[in-house]
């Protein structure tokens, strides 16, 4: 095997597209931080991580409780994206918590799904949750069911279910598109407590206008760590904070060095500043 050619092939994507190098650096940075915290936990040096209160997650109990009092079911919508979307996965982590509460309170649970793979996984999650609550007798396989892959067909189907079943609480957690407001307004008119959560930036305003509690962006990803008692789950939040610090420092440095370059072009010739300038001007897309 011609090794020099092999190395050349490995190297060439980075010449063609320098941005790839930055991505690689960032991924490695996050991984190292993650491993570091994993190591701290495994060796017992880190045992407690503080997480600020997330009102939307605390309100799950309230929502399920209220539905039980009113004798109405709970409706859970995991977004319209497939299992390959991280938001759907984050939603499934919250689902297990909600389903467990439903099992404990003996409240009826409805979950229409728009992707068949998500349906299979969600059935498993709900079943497990009912088992954990010790109420596997209450679990029915038709609690989680498939409607359609079509965006507005799904919205129409869920709207129909909301207006017929009149759920006491509606959970809209996952990746949503234009159907977000259609679902949330129908839930509002049915008088349900609504808890929403999404990382789709353009849909957040709609949820904030029409729902009682909203998980905004990364809060959705923090949810599984927040709800879990396992410290391993919580180290992700620490990693997230350290990574964000790196991003903040990069933005500040990049802005500063480019401003210096604009105002005093000669100052960039100073060796240290020159290196920093080269790193950060490489990020500018030509």
């Amino acid at each position: 095997m011609d090794w020099s050619y092999f190395w050349y092939k490995l190297y060439i994507p980075y010449v063609e597209n320098p941005l790839l190098g930055y991505s690689l650096f960032f991924l490695l940075f996050i991984s190292v931080v993650f491993w570091y915290y994993l190591y701290l936990v495994k060796t017992g040096r880190l045992s407690k991580i503080y997480i600020r209160r997330i009102p939307a997650l605390n309100s799950i109990e309230e929502a399920v409780g209220r539905s039980t009092e009113m004798g109405r079911p709970i409706l859970y919508v995991p977004g319209i994206q497939d299992i390959d979307n991280i938001q759907t996965l984050a939603s499934l982590a919250i689902l297990s918590h909600v389903a467990q509460r439903c099992a404990e309170y003996e409240t009826d649970f409805i979950m229409p799904v728009s992707r068949s793979v998500v349906m299979t996984v969600a059935q498993e999650v709900v079943k497990e949750s009912y088992l954990r609550a010790g109420r596997s007798d209450l679990y029915r396989s038709d609690m989680v069911f498939y409607l359609t892959d079509d965006q507005f067909g799904y919205a129409a189907g869920v709207d129909g279910i909301i207006s017929r079943e009149k759920p006491g609480a509606v959970f809209l957690i996952g990746a949503f598109y234009a159907e977000s407001l259609i679902l949330a307004e129908t839930g509002f008119s049915a008088g349900a407590i609504q808890i929403a959560g999404t990382a789709m930036i353009t849909q957040l305003p709609f949820f904030i206008a029409a729902c009682d509690y909203v998980l905004i962006g990364e809060e959705l990803f923090a949810a599984s760590a927040y709800l879990s008692k396992d410290i391993l789950d919580k180290i992700t939040l620490r990693t997230q904070d350290v990574s964000k610090a790196l991003v903040m420092i990069s933005i500040a440095t990049g802005a500063a060095i480019n401003t210096i370059h604009m105002l005093y072009p000669n100052m960039v010739n100073i060796p240290i500043l020159n290196v920093i300038y080269k790193i950060f001007s490489g990020m500018v897309i030509k």
């Binding site: 597209n17 941005l19 790839l20 965006q151 990746a175 598109y177 234009a178 353009t202 897309i285 030509k286």
Partner: protein
């Protein structure tokens, strides 16, 4: 005070009814000559910079280059997306640019194929010579990944196509532009995968709801330009054909309907605030 009592009686149904009346009126009056004229005059002066950037880039592509157009929308968003696709095809065919037309949505394939053939007929372009139709491309983000490695593997319908311009096209890197008209997240996937990983030029259009989300990408240069919603479509039509008032298409015409509804929204917001402030003052006095 009677007025405020009337305002207080406004319910969801009242709002729906008024919106419906205005929508119908707007659609009827959008065909009146002087309305179209005023619409056009104002629109000509207020072309969105993002639309101009997208248009100028396509103008700068040399003729006989190959572009990929991906119409990733269903029938629900046709009003916004169809005019963008039409004008893009017109601009390409006018400038003798070769087009590969696909859709990542199953229900978009039909629309894209019909529209492409229709516009091509107007410009006397021949299928499988000046343009090819790739139909529905299955896989979403995975298909986009595949395009970066092997375009013909990702779009099976063009794999054995005899079109001469396809001979030199191996990967997405050989394309001058990828233009995605998205009602969902495909435009973001094109940016994240084809632009960031493979350095392909990406531009596109999207529904008005999503336009705000795309701004960070436009400012960073990852997205060349954007036609956002019906306003973007109207901009494109004016840039491409600069029509006379009696020859404008739906995109410009329906700006009247949109204007009316937006004005109505402002009126409703003002009413809501009058009632709110009145109530608060009354409460304070007590």
């Amino acid at each position: 005070m009677i007025v405020i009592e009337i305002f207080k009686r406004i319910t969801r149904r009242t709002i729906f009814l008024v919106v419906a009346i205005f929508l119908i009126l707007g659609t009827i009056f959008s065909d009146v000559y002087w309305v179209k004229k005023i619409n056009l005059e104002v629109l000509r002066k207020t072309i969105t910079p993002a639309s101009k950037q997208a248009y100028d880039f396509i103008e700068s592509i040399p003729s006989n280059s190959v572009v990929l157009v991906s119409g990733d929308y269903g029938p629900s968003t046709r009003v916004e997306a169809d005019p963008i696709l039409e004008n893009f095809l017109k601009q390409c065919f006018r400038r003798d640019i070769k087009v590969i037309a696909i859709s990542l949505w199953p229900d978009g394939a039909q629309i894209v194929a019909t529209k492409t053939r229709q516009i091509a007929n107007q410009y006397n372009k021949i299928e499988n010579q000046d343009y090819v139709i790739g139909g529905y491309v299955v896989g979403g983000a995975v298909a986009i990944e595949k395009m970066g490695v092997d375009l013909k593997d990702a779009i099976p319908l063009i794999a054995n196509n005899p079109a001469p311009f396809l001979r030199d096209i191996k990967t997405a890197h050989d394309l001058s532009l990828v233009f995605s008209i998205a009602a969902g997240d495909t435009l973001v996937y094109y940016i994240r995968i084809l632009k960031s990983r493979y350095g392909v030029n990406v531009s596109g259009g999207c529904t008005a709801v999503m336009a705000a989300e795309m701004y960070p990408y436009i400012l960073s240069g990852q997205l060349i330009g954007l036609f956002g919603g019906l306003k973007g479509a109207a901009d494109y039509e004016i840039l491409e054909s600069n029509p006379e008032p009696d020859k404008v298409s739906e995109a410009v015409k329906y700006m009247l309907t949109q204007s009316l509804i937006h004005a109505l929204l402002i009126i409703f917001i003002i009413i809501a605030n009058i009632v709110y402030i009145y109530d608060r003052l009354k409460f304070r006095r007590k």
